[in-house]
């Protein structure tokens, strides 16, 4: 019964037009998500790669990432908003704090997952430290690194809904406005659209991973038996390297 009401809500063309329409909300949602993930990756990937490469500060890094994970985003968001009084900045900062730990853990664990023998062989062939990182460790780290990016993207898509709480747009508007006005079908429609967006982005990133990960790395990961379980796909990837 409720689902027919939700379908009716989704089928109503009035909900798809204008500044508060579904397409606008989806674009807003995507905008926050993409900016957040890009900035978080810009911070976390180099940091994770370098720490994994030098092997120094790994314990501190993993501990820091774990502590950051426990930070409640809603708390951080309201805290930053009252402090900075800017909806956009506080939302992006809070979401970046959410997205950094999985990417950091993924890129660090990715470098760590590259077999020591391979890195030693590269050293023996005369590759400099930077060349080893760029040509050997980075490609080898890609499966876990991208797993971290996927996991971060999922969490950001899900959590961007809280942006609506401090007055921004995105699909969270449907949820919160529906909650305030008691429009349950609208809430469920917003929830379904968010889930759908998350699923689509996840498929997109999975496809991207297939394109980017070198065939050799994929083959060795698939053929390695024991170690292939550490590749970190799906929900289990959260715990990789922690």
């Amino acid at each position: 019964m409720i689902f027919s009401q939700v379908l009716a809500w989704l089928a109503d063309s009035a909900h798809w037009r204008g500044p508060g329409g579904v397409p606008v909300r989806v674009v807003e949602h995507l905008y926050y998500t993409v900016v957040t993930v890009l900035v978080a990756a810009g911070i976390a990937v180099p940091l994770g790669l370098v720490v994994g490469h030098t092997g120094r500060g790994g314990v501190v890094l993993v501990g820091l990432a774990n502590a950051m994970r426990a930070l409640p985003t809603l708390g951080l968001l309201t805290f930053l908003f009252l402090l900075l009084r800017s909806q956009g900045t506080s939302t992006l900062l809070a979401l970046i704090v959410l997205a950094v730990p999985p990417v950091l853990a993924g890129s660090y664990a990715g470098v760590q997952s590259v077999e020591r023998d391979v890195v030693d062989a590269a050293r023996g062939m005369g590759l400099t430290s930077a060349q080893r990182l760029w040509q050997v460790e980075l490609p080898g780290a890609l499966p876990l690194l991208l797993g971290g990016v996927r996991s971060a993207t999922l969490q950001v898509v899900a959590t961007t809904t809280v942006a609506a709480y401090i007055g921004l747009g995105g699909l969270g508007r449907l949820l919160l406005d529906g909650l305030r006005s008691g429009d349950y079908p609208q809430m469920v429609a917003g929830a379904l659209l968010t889930a759908l967006l998350a699923l689509l982005l996840d498929l997109l990133l999975a496809g991207l991973a297939r394109l980017v990960v070198p065939t050799g790395v994929r083959l060795s990961a698939a053929g390695a038996g024991e170690s292939s379980r550490r590749r970190g796909r799906g929900p289990g990837s959260e715990g990789v390297g922690l």
């Binding site: 898509v157 917003g190 889930a195």
Partner: protein
């Protein structure tokens, strides 16, 4: 920093505020721990079945992955239409978080069972253990180290997700965030963040302790220098 500390002190000097904070902390613990237990109890037999029955594996693990992509607030909101509960019902949060816990733990359960050394399972079989008893007495205990790592992740994730429930009125310490936002007052927000972090830390230490207690052989191995 000092005005912040003063603010917190002033907020907590009111007995009604203190009482509220304690109540919310208790609610937070229940809303985070109950789903963790339910999820663990559900994930173990499900993972066992998925590991033993080949054709179950892909659909079970696949649906766990899909479930994990559903945003928490969305799941909280959809729950009433599935469970028939009211929107402002704690059961929505508990069931939703239990589902996440199952989704998070299923793959590790399967992986951990996959990774059991075959000779140990064979030895147990040769000693006359039937599959069900072998699972409880041999396979499950040996899977604890891998499983414990994922339970810690699930615990941290649950504790932080509970506060999202504040949107639908059941969010434990999350209610301090909405209160602080509505009254434009930082003190309850900071108290909520600190208590959430402390709670996550305490749960993590507890889980590490439980894992150590459940795997005495791991320490015996360490002492003998078998594994660094």
């Amino acid at each position: 920093m000092t005005p912040m500390v003063d603010d917190i002190g002033r907020y907590l000097s009111s007995p009604s505020n203190r009482e509220k904070v304690f109540e919310l902390l208790g609610e937070h613990v229940v809303l985070a721990v109950l789903p963790l237990l339910i999820g663990l109890v559900a994930a173990v037999p499900l993972g066992w079945a998925a590991q033993r029955v080949r054709w179950l594996r892909a659909p079970v693990l696949g649906s766990a992955s899909v479930l994990y992509t559903v945003p928490s607030l969305a799941l909280f909101v959809i729950m009433p239409s599935i469970l028939g509960t009211r929107i402002l019902d704690g059961a929505n949060v508990v069931v939703a978080l239990a589902l996440y816990t199952v989704a998070l733990l299923l793959r590790p359960v399967v992986d951990a069972l996959d990774a059991l050394p075959g000779h140990v399972v064979a030895a147990a079989t040769a000693m006359g253990y039937r599959p069900a008893r072998r699972f409880v007495a041999v396979e499950l205990p040996m899977a604890v180290p891998v499983l414990a790592a994922s339970v810690r992740v699930a615990s941290a994730s649950n504790i932080s997700l509970v506060s999202v429930g504040a949107f639908i009125g059941i969010g434990g310490l999350g209610q301090l965030f909405t209160e602080g936002f509505q009254t434009r007052y930082l003190a309850p927000i900071v108290i909520g963040i600190l208590l959430t972090l402390l709670l996550a830390l305490a749960m993590d230490l507890l889980l590490v302790g439980l894992r150590r207690a459940a795997t005495p052989w791991a320490r015996a191995g360490l002492r003998a220098g078998a594994r660094a």
